[in-house]
């Protein structure tokens, strides 16, 4: 961490500039679709890339507190907000606290299967698991709404389901307001205001935004599943983790995630979540540094005989699909 400094500050500002340029050229090109549909297509891709950069490399990482040391009024985990249906503050609370503290402890980390999918024998088999591959596809398509609903713990907020071991500190009414206001703003912005601004090209822009959001959903969902639910990822019970030491916490982080190999642009677009293992070990280290520490982490794993789950995108993704299919049967 001692090396973190100017280089990282410049990097994140550069990525933000890139994101703003892509977002605006994307939105403009969508309207220019009447000149040539190719321009529209480039616009869709630019906007989708902008949304991916915003969600992954900027939003996710800034909201993890990776850049709080910069003391910048806008680039910090308290101030940043992202271009996605899920309210940043709600996400920050559930994701950083529940998921990163209690990673893969069944019953505490609700991210394991998101309450929709059965991904290990820790859960009893139900009939609905038979078609969970299609549930998974649906989740991917609507991923931003899934995240929003999930991070809200909506089944509890809306339907009053309670769990005893939780202390939320944020009133349900406020969570609901955040859920609806952020969601509504996203819908109005992408599917009403920006299309209306385009006048006669209303539909072009609306469909363009729809596809950009869809591409972003598929991408983020896929990357996140590859980081958490490959075949080798282990789960833990609450009992195992009572009075856990710091060392055991690291050990759990190590076994609870998996990496994806890839090139420079691939890592940037995943927000360096292709280094999911390093991310779980050091969630508030500027993510680009994961590339530097990965070989050292791997070395330590080797010395202690811990499995370091990594592989190509295809290998990891097929492993995820297999896992979803495997546990759809009893």
């Amino acid at each position: 961490m001692a090396k973190v400094g100017e280089q990282d500050a410049n990097y994140i500002r550069r990525v933000i500039v890139m994101q703003r340029i892509l977002e605006w050229s994307g939105r403009i090109l969508l309207v220019l679709g009447f000149v040539s549909p190719w321009l529209w297509l480039v616009g869709v891709l630019a906007l989708a890339t902008a949304k991916i950069l915003d969600n992954m490399e900027i939003g996710h990482n800034v909201m993890h507190g990776q850049y709080d040391w910069m003391n910048d009024k806008h680039i910090n985990s308290k101030a940043y907000e992202w271009d996605i249906a899920c309210d940043g503050k709600s996400w920050n609370r559930v994701h950083n606290f529940e998921h990163h503290t209690y990673t893969n402890i069944i019953g505490k980390d609700r991210d394991f299967g998101y309450g929709l999918l059965r991904l290990s024998n820790d859960f009893r088999w139900r009939v609905k698991n038979l078609w969970q591959f299609f549930t998974y596809l649906n989740l991917s398509v609507l991923f931003q709404w899934g995240v929003s609903y999930h991070e809200l713990a909506a089944e509890r907020v809306f339907f009053g389901k309670k769990k005893d071991n939780r202390d939320y500190k944020v009133p349900h009414s406020e969570l609901k307001t955040r859920f609806f206001s952020k969601g509504a703003r996203q819908l109005i912005k992408d599917y009403l205001i920006f299309p209306l601004l385009a006048g006669p090209f209303f539909l072009w822009v609306l469909i363009g935004n729809l596809i950009a959001n869809l591409l972003r959903n598929l991408w983020t969902s896929t990357i996140i599943f590859c980081g958490h639910f490959t075949g080798d990822v282990k789960t833990f019970s609450e009992k195992e983790c009572e009075n856990e030491t710091k060392g055991q916490w690291y050990y759990r982080q190590a076994l609870g995630s998996s990496n994806i190999k890839g090139s420079n642009w691939f890592h940037v677009l995943t927000g360096h979540l292709s280094f999911q293992i390093e991310h779980h070990l050091f969630p508030d280290m500027p993510a680009k540094r994961y590339r530097e520490i990965a070989p050292k982490v791997q070395q330590v794993f080797l010395e202690h005989g811990i499995q370091y789950n990594t592989g190509s995108f295809l290998k990891q993704y097929s492993s995820v699909v297999k896992r979803i299919l495997r546990y759809s049967l009893p």
Binding site: G65, H100, T101
Partner: protein
């Protein structure tokens, strides 16, 4: 530029650009064209950095034109980028409003602290580098009335230099300056001499406690004047106590380094101010536990510095990171309560 950022555009940004403020959304882009441009700050360009005495630098800055000119005696917050991190300190302007108005130039005279986290870096500033400054603040101003006695110690000379330079342009009352420093360590002496040559009613005496004795000795001679004091805490306190006893009119500005309890082994208590609610905290337990013990509700999560839920904006003071033992900066920054202990009095935004 400030016209672009107002409540209306912020509302707009919130609705359409998913950011709570327009400036937050656009700042890195604007910085491509205007380096170091920051919402809520003014920009200034470094004209020169000169070592004027042992460990004392004079920093000349060219302010941007929209900067509201100061009054002699006021101070600013200076923000510099130290290896990617923004740090802020307060300094008095040691040059006249007249110069600021006509040339757009201000000067700061700063003592460099060996163990400081800010002042040592000033020597590394290069000509034409950008820094950020706040608008001028403070009410330490020369009164319009009768005769004035000035008491300065060390770098406490700075506001008086500004006042005296300004007096060249405005009719001024009789002024006498008592300037305390270590023998031969008085700052800007040549400038004071030139000022006393040009200002018929200004005189000064250079003093050292080791030779001339404590400032208290000088005070009985100045009873019929208004007193102005600028210097370290103990210097200020001596004069203030005397003035209170003799019902003497006094205005003052004083500064201190935060009193650090950095060894941390023996137990000590410090005052914590959370948006006006004050309580005493020790340097042994994490701050979060002490907030809770005092029934102050703050969000929290993992309790081990991972989830950033208990993060608070510290306005002033120094805390220690329990995990690394590293001390924080003095100024405003985000800290996590669950892994911080106090090592000085601390103030938080509620």
């Amino acid at each position: 530029m400030s016209l672009i950022f107002n409540p209306l555009t912020n509302w707009f940004s919130k609705q359409f650009f998913h950011h709570s403020s327009m400036a937050g959304y656009l700042e890195p882009v604007i910085q491509l064209f205007k380096p170091s441009w920051r919402d809520g700050y003014y920009r200034a360009k470094v004209l020169s950095v000169t070592l004027i005495a042992n460990k004392t630098v004079a920093l000349e800055l060219k302010t941007e034109s929209r900067w509201p000119t100061h009054q002699a005696g006021q101070h600013i917050e200076l923000t510099i980028d130290i290896n990617g991190r923004l740090s802020t300190r307060v300094f008095t302007i040691a040059s006249s409003p007249n110069q600021a108005m006509h040339e757009g130039v201000i000067r700061l005279v700063i003592k460099q602290q060996d163990a400081g986290l800010f002042t040592p870096f000033l020597s590394r500033l290069t000509v034409n580098a950008w820094v950020n400054i706040s608008k001028p603040k403070g009410t330490f101003l020369l009164p319009q009335s009768n005769a004035v006695s000035l008491f300065a110690a060390g770098t406490g000379i700075t506001p008086f230099i500004a006042m005296l330079h300004q007096a060249l342009h405005e009719v001024a009352q009789p002024i006498h300056l008592f300037y305390y420093a270590k023998p031969n360590a008085h700052l800007l002496v040549a400038e004071l001499e030139s000022l006393s040559n040009r200002l018929p009613n200004f005189t000064f005496t250079l003093l050292s406690r080791s030779i001339d004795g404590d400032v208290v000795k000088k005070l009985p001679d100045c009873h019929n004047t208004h007193w102005m004091v600028c210097g370290p805490n103990d210097f200020h306190k001596t004069i203030r106590d005397y003035a209170l006893m003799h019902q003497q009119s006094l205005s003052s500005e004083h500064f201190s380094l935060v009193d650090l309890h950095s060894t941390g082994d023996e137990k000590a208590h410090f005052q914590v101010d959370h948006g006006g609610i004050k309580f005493s905290a020790d340097n042994q337990q994490p701050l979060l536990a002490q907030f809770q013990a005092n029934n102050i509700n703050v969000p929290y999560g993992c309790g081990m510095g991972i989830c950033h839920q208990c993060q608070c904006v510290k306005k002033k003071g120094v805390v220690r990171d329990i995990r690394t033992g590293k001390l924080s900066d003095y100024g405003e920054e985000l800290i996590q309560l669950c892994v911080s202990q106090v090592v000085s009095d601390v103030e938080f935004k509620a």
